[in-house]
């Protein structure tokens, strides 16, 4: 094999210019492949992050809804039991009873979840519908009472805070973080007081300690955050009053199954992230398919380049092939020589492609990209995942192997007698 490689390399050196052109073709496609995939996936991660970072994997809550079995159904069931024909009833009169949207026994549920090995974090929430009183106008708003330290740690709360220090919210009483859109409408900044009215008519003054921007304008016009204790006080509810429990799992994919399990176990409503945000995966998949398709097409084009150059080389080297065969190299040896030749081109092109791809990724990464929707992003996002490098180099070797195989097979089938006698 060493001998065959040295023959392949010598043949390659003799056709250095063409070999370099072929390798540059591979290099170019690998560079584009790596850059494109890194950029696309950086973008995917960014866009997914808009939702994923802020969304719990499972949300437990208590939804008020009509009783699934109406009293008349019980009556009909008894009726049918004694042999009467079954019938359809149209009467739906019993409405939901006056019940608080709280989670029953929330502390015990949280305790149980904390002990579950699949769970990464459990954070309670208390969501309150409020009005902000601005002059004579009442603006609709939703105050999320949060465990600030948990939110910073698991939901990147601090990343989305464009003004103010998130720790002020954790320590201060009667402080609130307003959504950017809401703050603009109220023309209030940090340190200003805002008046809040709850659905039950309680009024409280809260101090603005930060401005929050999620990147989704509608959301920022309504949502506000406050310490969970502040919201409990606002609603005049006790310290164990929570409306939601947000769960983050170690493995995102377990969410749908676990949501069903928790729903049954604790008799609450549970929604998982996949159900709540079915659209984001579709978008990522489509973008991924496009970038892979472009990369593979580039590689196939490079493969044709190699195929052409090898074919030409074989026509020019018929004498060499004939004499190698006459002096004892068999068809398989000749095939290996030309395959090796192709693989060397692929390897050199592939590796330099990875290098240039990395440089290109750095370049893309340094292009400024400032958008109001994404406060933490200043340059184009790039995913430097080594996975794409491995895929790229594997593809490069595969393509060059296939592109080399056909000419190499042709070379191995050259009949030396025909060549030698033809002279």
């Amino acid at each position: 094999m060493k001998l065959l490689l040295s023959i392949a390399l010598t043949l390659l050196r003799a056709k250095l210019k063409q070999s370099i052109v072929a390798a540059v073709g591979v290099m170019f496609s690998i560079t584009m492949f790596v850059t494109l995939l890194g950029f696309m996936n950086g973008l995917n991660t960014l866009l997914d992050g808009l939702i994923l970072n802020r969304t719990p994997h499972i949300r437990l809550y208590n939804e008020l809804q009509a009783s699934p079995t109406q009293p008349i159904q019980h009556a009909w069931a008894q009726h049918a039991a004694v042999g009467a024909d079954s019938a359809h009833h149209f009467i739906r009169s019993v409405k939901p009873k006056d019940e608080l949207p709280r989670l029953r026994n929330a502390e015990a549920v949280m305790q149980a979840l904390e002990n579950d090995p699949r769970v990464l974090s459990v954070s309670p929430r208390l969501v309150a519908q409020v009005f902000f009183n601005v002059g004579t106008v009442d603006l609709n708003g939703q105050v999320n009472g949060i465990d600030v330290m948990d939110e910073i740690r698991y939901y990147r709360f601090a990343d989305y805070l464009v003004q103010g220090d998130p720790h002020d919210l954790a320590t201060g009483n009667n402080t609130i973080v307003l959504g950017k859109g809401l703050a603009d409408m109220m023309e209030s900044g940090i340190g200003d007081m805002v008046q809040v009215t709850t659905a039950t008519g309680e009024r409280t003054m809260l101090r603005v300690s930060g401005i929050f921007q999620s990147g989704i304008a509608d959301y920022d016009k309504v949502q506000c955050y406050a310490n969970i204790k502040t919201v409990q006080k606002l609603l005049t509810r006790p310290g164990s009053y929570y409306t939601d429990i947000n769960v983050k799992l170690k493995d995102l994919l377990q969410a749908p199954a676990m949501a069903r399990e928790l729903s049954a176990r604790f008799d609450v409503d549970a929604v998982d992230i996949q159900t709540a945000n079915a659209q984001f995966e579709t978008g990522s998949d489509v973008r991924n398919i496009i970038s892979y398709a472009v990369g593979v097409v580039l590689l196939i084009v490079a493969g044709f380049g190699i195929y052409n150059i090898l074919n030409m080389m074989i026509y020019e080297k018929l004498d060499a092939i004939a004499i190698l065969k006459a002096t004892g190299f068999n068809g398989a040896d000749v095939r290996r020589i030309f395959l090796l030749l192709s693989m060397v081109i692929g390897l050199v092109g592939g590796v330099s492609g990875l290098l240039f791809g990395f440089l290109m990724q750095n370049l893309v990464d340094s292009i400024p990209f400032i958008t109001a929707a994404l406060p933490t992003v200043t340059t184009f996002p790039v995913d430097y995942n080594p996975k794409y490098y491995i895929i790229a180099v594997t593809f490069a070797l595969l393509t060059t192997w296939i592109a080399g195989w056909f000419p190499a097979r042709k070379a191995s089938q050259v009949d030396p007698v025909e060549i030698i006698r033809g002279k």
Binding site: A14, T327, N330, A332, R421
Partner: protein, 261 residues
């Protein structure tokens, strides 16, 4: 080893007991050696071949011949008599024929391409009308390639042996030149050195002097003669040069696909 010493015979040949003796007579010691072993290096039985395109034309008709160890045989005949076709069948490169070809007592019919390549590598050396040196490689590397392929010796040893053969042919000064920098006669001498690298049992030549002037033809003939005389290696040379043929041990004359003498 010095450059004046003869090339060692192939691995299984243990006959070179008296390297000084053959110098007096070119012919008898080779035959003696062959007789002592009683073996034919090459044996051909009833070989026939036809070309089928576009009409079937028989080119070889039941050819039988044999070549003994150390024998220097030439095949002559008019062009188109089938002598080259016969040589390529004997070389194992052409496998499309009827009959039997035995090289070193091994029938070659029906062997795999890989096995045939091995036989060519180990037991047969080739010298063609055209030198077929690889221009990408140095002279030395050209000579070494079949030896490296055989893999019987280390690369250093193969290089040493290649140098020795080049020295025997007085080409050692050109060892590190490119194959394209040599003259026609020099190239042919390098091609001969290449054919000798694995100590083959038989060297086959297809018009090896066809492209050379008379002086270089003479040099090539002398080299062949000394190979046959000193090293117990057989030679089978196709030529239409009657002067060349007349100086060999035996002439096989062919006409119209048959051996006539």
């Amino acid at each position: 080893m010095t450059s004046t010493e003869p090339i060692t015979p192939n691995s299984d040949g243990s006959t070179a007991g008296d390297p000084a003796a053959p110098k007096t007579s070119a012919m008898s010691p080779a035959l003696d050696a062959a007789d002592s072993r009683g073996s034919n290096i090459l044996e051909v039985r009833n070989v026939s071949k036809s070309f089928h395109d576009p009409v079937t034309v028989p080119v070889l008709k039941k050819v039988s011949l044999e070549v003994k160890r150390g024998e220097f045989v030439s095949i002559t005949g008019k062009s188109g008599c089938g002598k080259s076709t016969l040589l390529y069948i004997l070389s194992t490169m052409d496998t499309d024929y009827e009959g039997e070809v035995m090289i070193d007592a091994e029938p070659t019919r029906g062997l795999s391409g890989e096995r045939l390549a091995r036989i060519r590598n180990e037991k047969i050396g080739f010298v063609f009308q055209f030198h077929y040196l690889l221009p990408e490689f140095s002279v030395l590397k050209n000579v070494m390639l079949p030896g490296l392929k055989l893999g019987k010796h280390s690369a250093e040893e193969v290089e040493h042996r290649a140098m020795k053969r080049l020295r025997d042919l007085d080409m050692h000064e050109h060892a590190f030149k490119g194959a394209n920098q040599l003259s026609g006669g020099q190239k042919q001498r390098v091609a001969i050195a290449r054919s000798l690298i694995n100590d083959p049992l038989i060297i086959m030549g297809d018009e090896p002097t066809g492209n050379l002037d008379s002086r270089n033809s003479g040099i090539v003939f002398d080299i062949f003669k000394s190979i046959s005389a000193h090293h117990e290696q057989s030679l089978l040379v196709v030529t239409h040069d009657n002067d060349f043929a007349s100086r060999t041990d035996r002439i096989i004359e062919m006409d119209d696909g048959k051996v006539i003498g």
